[in-house]
């Protein structure tokens, strides 16, 4: 099953908004050269910023409390396995410092937390010491360079009246940091193997925006506490950070559980009818691709893939002797097989996250001319997702079936071109013409999952 047991081989670490902290390192890809170059660049950039602003921290406690808070937040990362990301929680402190004290202090805080965190992880047997460094530095450089450049030209207005020590450079710092962060996450999320080839916008954008909104409150609090009570009050913000971390962990567990539920249901189907495995995988990936090309939003296309994985789940309730029967089915047997659409909907309906796909599964054997089952829906009454599954399901049954019942004496396996001709012949009656055209395009461009 493609959706379950997806081991994370390359586990990039991101900080709160998803800043990349690690990827796999190796001699072949020249990553040590990159490390050296990025390290040098970061030294230059940080030196530039320090030269511009100087090192004028308000109190020696800074050297202890803020990096300590950021460091503690750094030590409680969460692995979002299905996104291929790790998340850490230093950003409220880094941003808070940027607002309260300035970009220099924020850079130093981030750098210190990252360094100490990396060292602790390295000494505790963590394998990601070097890569951790590389990409942390990359982000710092990307942030520090424009800050250093622009801050030379900016005035120093108060920011929201919270502190007297902030300036526009701090805002710029936050902006560049967030944008860099987002770009890295997007690139990385897109390269994760679970992402579809044509996925336009990874869902990390939504995660990043929500996180940023919450952290905006948090870093204002860091700044306000600093102004009202000094540095000693800042560690209090670890409480909401911890709460947020717990919320992210719960959400991840729910996602994990959801994915495993789909995997386990598909596993049940496979154990019942072993020949369905290849079929389900082929249909699932192709359905997502066709769905995207038909303009479905990203999350809906992903749901379509999951619906395609589970579209035949109702076959658990079908006698395998009938499904595998090499000869033509009797009417009674046909009726028995046809119950699988409704059975599938019944099985999936209790699962909250699968609610949208219940109808898609139930109606994946409907036909635009109204002769399908179980409800005899017509044209647009049939959900688009069901129409997509119907086309790909039929194509795969014609060309790729592995089961003993697939290559029946009265219905030999077809070539791809023969199956396309058949789809076109039935376009408008059995299949949605727009879906058939889109599917043909995917086939033409070699986008079929095989």
């Amino acid at each position: 099953m493609s959706l379950s047991g997806e081991a994370l081989r390359e586990e990039p670490t991101l900080n709160s908004m998803g800043v990349v902290k690690s990827v796999r390192f190796g001699r072949r890809n020249g990553s040590w050269s990159v490390l050296l170059a990025v390290g040098l660049l970061s030294v230059v950039a940080v030196s530039l910023v320090f030269a511009r602003y100087g090192v004028a921290f308000h109190t020696p406690a800074y050297w202890f409390l803020l990096p300590l808070s950021a460091f503690l937040a750094e030590l409680i990362p969460i692995s979002l396995r299905h996104r291929g990301l790790n998340v850490t929680f230093t950003l409220p402190f880094v941003f808070g410092v940027a607002v309260a004290i300035g970009p220099v202090a924020a850079l130093a805080t981030d750098l210190t937390a990252t360094m100490v965190g990396a060292l602790v992880m390295a000494f505790s047997g963590h394998k990601r010491f070097s890569p951790y460094w590389t990409y942390a530095n990359l982000v710092i450089v990307a942030t520090a360079m424009p800050v250093a450049y622009f801050s030379l030209k900016t005035a120093e207005p108060n920011l929201w009246g919270l502190t007297g020590a902030t300036h526009l450079g701090a805002l710029l710092f936050l902006l560049v940091y967030a944008v860099t962060n987002f770009l890295l996450v997007t690139a990385l999320n897109s390269s994760h193997k679970s992402a579809a080839k044509s996925e336009p916008r990874p869902s990390s954008m939504a995660m990043g925006v929500k996180t940023f909104a919450l952290y905006a409150v948090l870093f204002m609090v860091v700044a306000a506490l600093y102004r009202a009570h000094g540095l000693l009050a800042i560690p209090l913000t670890l409480v909401p950070v911890w709460a947020y971390r717990t919320a992210v962990a719960y959400r991840d567990r729910m996602t994990d559980y959801y994915v495993h539920t789909i995997g386990a249901l598909a596993d049940m189907l496979e154990r019942t009818h072993p020949y369905t495995q290849g079929h389900v995988e082929r249909v699932a990936w192709t359905a997502e691709e066709v769905g995207r090309r038909l303009g479905l939003p990203s999350h809906r296309a992903r749901l379509l893939r999951e619906a395609a994985v589970l579209h035949d789940i109702g076959k658990i309730a079908v006698d395998e002797r009938i499904l595998d029967k090499p000869s033509r089915l009797t009417q009674e047997e046909m009726d028995h097989v046809r119950t699988h659409a409704v059975s599938g909907a019944k099985i999936l309906s209790p699962v909250l996250e699968l609610q949208p796909i219940v109808a898609w599964v139930q109606h994946h054997h409907e036909r635009p001319d109204g002769t399908g089952y179980p409800s005899g829906l017509v044209g647009d009454q049939i959900p688009l997702e069901s129409r997509v599954i119907a086309v790909i399901d039929a194509f795969d049954a014609m060309t790729g079936g592995d089961g003993p019942g697939q290559d029946r004496p009265y219905r030999k396996r077809m070539s791809v071109s023969e199956a396309i001709v058949e789809l076109e012949r039935c376009s408008g009656t059995q299949f949605d013409p727009a879906v058939v055209q889109c599917f043909k395009l995917v086939v033409k461009e070699g986008g079929l999952a095989r």
Binding site: Y257, H260, G263, L269, T272, V318, K346, I347
Partner: protein, 225 residues
């Protein structure tokens, strides 16, 4: 003005933090629990559709298992796990051929068919092991048909109290419900009592009797007996 803004931000933060703490300590655990229960229902629905003879079993077994667990003094977490395991105990039936489950009665099965059927609890355990959120239940479902104490046990499976309370309770509850469907409550209870200490855990049998006399659970068809 600056002070007022600062106070406002801190108050906002306090409320945000309280909201966040309530969210993570009450709402999210409830949501996770609801999702897990919904998935359990999906699995049991699938099995009941495949084997219509088991239809409605879960709805009877799960509350009974909970009451027996309470009688035996299990804590809230153990009771929750027990309910989950009771709902998932038969997912491995998906690997048993349709003909065995639906074409013949159990007493007409051949030795080979019996052996295929008996593997379902092992399959259930193996399937749950693949789901991290449920893997801790795998041994409960794996041994839910294991006898409490059987001379000549050569399969190396744990017996007696080494089974843990989960499998012992589920075995008593499921076999009581099954027998009750076939022969009525009193006959079912006699059958379970006769096997106490050999096939069934004595404490679970005592707890079952206490549940049947002290609560409404299981009284539904007492008249038929």
């Amino acid at each position: 003005m600056q002070d007022r803004v600062g106070v406002f931000v801190v108050i906002l933060a306090i409320f945000t933090t309280i909201g966040l703490l309530v969210y993570v300590s009450i709402i999210l655990p409830q949501q996770l629990e609801a999702r897990i229960r919904a998935s359990v229902l999906a699995f049991s629905t699938a099995i009941e559709l495949r084997c219509p003879t088991t239809s409605g079993m879960c709805a009877e077994v799960v509350p009974l298992v909970r009451e027996i667990g309470k009688q035996m003094g299990l804590g809230a977490r153990a009771l929750r796990d027990l309910e989950m395991a009771a709902g998932l105990r038969d997912v491995g039936l998906c690997s048993v051929p349709y003909s065995i489950m639906n074409d013949k009665r159990e007493e007409d099965w051949t030795a080979e068919e019996q052996a295929i059927y008996q593997r379902h609890s092992e399959v259930s355990g193996a399937m749950l092991e693949q789901i991290p959120a449920l893997s801790h239940l795998s041994n409960i479902v794996r041994y839910h048909h294991a006898p409490f104490s059987k001379p000549g046990n050569t399969r190396g499976q744990p017996l007696g109290r080494s089974l843990g309370p989960g499998p012992r309770i589920i075995k008593v509850a499921t076999e009581f419900v099954w027998e009750r469907r076939e022969r009525g409550q009193l006959a079912a209870l006699r059958e379970i009592e006769a096997g106490s200490g050999i096939e069934y855990c004595p404490e679970a049998v005592v707890a079952l009797k206490a549940v049947l006399t002290s609560t409404g659970v299981g009284k539904r068809d007492a008249v038929s007996a």
